[in-house]
Amino acid sequence: MTINVNPPVAADTTMQMGPQDYIRRSASSVPAPARQLEPVAKLIDVSKCIGCKACQSACLEWNDLREEVGVNTGVYDNPHDLTPNTFTLMRFTEWVNPETDNLEWLIRKDGCMHCADPGCLKACPAPGAIVQYSNGVVDFVKENCIGCGYCVKGCPFDIPRISKVDNRSYKCTLCSDRIAVGQGPACAKACPTKAIVFGTKEEMKAHAAERIEDLKSRGYSNAGLYDPPGVGGTHVMYVLHHADKPSIYAGLPDDPRISPLVEAWKGVTKYAGLALMGFAAAAGFVHMAVSGRNRVTVEDDEEARRLAERAPGAAPLDPSKEPSA
């Protein structure tokens, strides 16, 4: 047989995804895309995850992120939170199952969920700073980001982080640059136990179903898929052994949705506000038209003069200044 030293890895490296595939664009509108990309998803099987942080490592390397070397604070979570340079983070929870009284080490890979209904995009005031592709990828376009931090308030999962260095917002891109050439995200590729897998959302749901069946056979009767409807479903999903209580996994929201406050702010306030201001201005013009300006009359001036002259300490009148009757 021939010895193949360097077989090709990614044959085709031309970008096959782009603005023509936007279905949403922050603070602006996009034409309906000519084609519909197959929805993709990253499935994170928490029950298979060994918390090795390969995903974090691969993410830092692929995205050329340079995080600071921190300190130990008595836990395995390092860095201690998502940062502009840490798009994904393993969160460790030592949980004693009240039913079995056994310790369970719950390890969840945190990062952008790529919501079908993205709160960040809804909140973003900068046109084109956040875009959503027809395959579900929600991406930040830093060139358009103004660093206002509205996306942070809009996100139901507390994901985006604003850089103090360049005042732009950062989060997991789902490796949009890899997906664009037909490869999966760096974290999914690296994951040693394939706790993170990537494919079409349909494939991922099917795979999740198998995993849930297996978990139930191993006694996890509440095993299930986390694809929260509150945000229209997500393109990053979890398989949880305790799907009945997501919040035990380092505060994964039980029922995430875009905050009503954000809805109010970006909804009624935005429109009612504009209307109100417009109305106020218009009212002025109408009033002016109807009642004309409020003018000072000659009588007013005379009254003023009389009052002034009769007042104590008034100077003797200068006849020459006496107005003619």
Binding site: T13, M15, A58, D139, K189, K194
Partner: protein
């Protein structure tokens, strides 16, 4: 051998395969412009891919090193590293250490020049390879000639050099290992060991 077929063979059962969804499945049509707004250009375009093996544990995961430049010209430099999708053991995956190998290759503390620390000194000084190697073999010969045991009390030839020891590596190639074995044993060294125990 056909890579595609071999990759597909990985899809059988198991989660491992699920990651290997091919480009077609994402519903892409014809190729578009190479650079598009908002997306980072694909950074591996135009790089050379070299198959290698992770130097850490004995799982010996296959890795692909992406480099720019030409090794024949002496200009090749690694710019990225990933798991080898075709490798039967790791199938493209890598652990947190393997995933960061590029920064092992490029570590700030990577050694670049031979150095010597003289007796009593509190610093290293750079020296040439010739100075280093000649200094080392001079030490070796002096020590060997002074302490080599040709025969034991019973007059049996034992040809033992016990006063200089050699601790062999654990991540060098078999080829380095055998060349080391030849050089060390031919000198009669017995205090010879490796990292098997730690």
């Amino acid at each position: 051998m056909n890579m595609e077929i071999s990759r597909r063979s990985f899809l059988k059962g198991a989660g491992a395969g699920v990651a290997v969804t091919t480009i077609g499945a994402f519903g892409f049509g014809e190729a578009e412009a190479a650079f598009v707004e908002g997306l980072r250009p694909y950074k591996l375009a135009g790089t050379t891919e070299t198959r290698n093996t992770c130097p850490y544990c004995s799982v010996a995961c296959g890795v692909v090193i992406y480099s720019k430049g030409d090794i024949e010209q002496g200009t090749a430099e690694a710019i990225h590293l990933e798991g080898d999708v075709d490798h039967p053991t790791n199938r493209g995956t890598l652990c947190p250490k393997g995933s960061a190998l590029l920064d092992f290759i490029k570590a700030d503390t990577r050694l670049m020049k031979p150095k010597v620390r003289r007796a009593g000194s509190n610093t290293f000084e750079e020296i040439s390879w010739d100075e280093a190697l000649d200094g080392i073999v001079r030490h070796m010969k002096d020590d060997r000639d002074a302490n080599f045991i040709e025969r034991n009390m019973d007059g049996v030839p034992v040809n033992r050099w016990t006063t200089t020891g050699f601790l062999a590596a654990s991540a060098t190639t078999n080829e380095t290992a055998f060349l080391t074995y030849k050089a060390v044993r031919s000198a009669g060294m017995v205090a010879f060991d490796n990292q098997a125990r730690v």
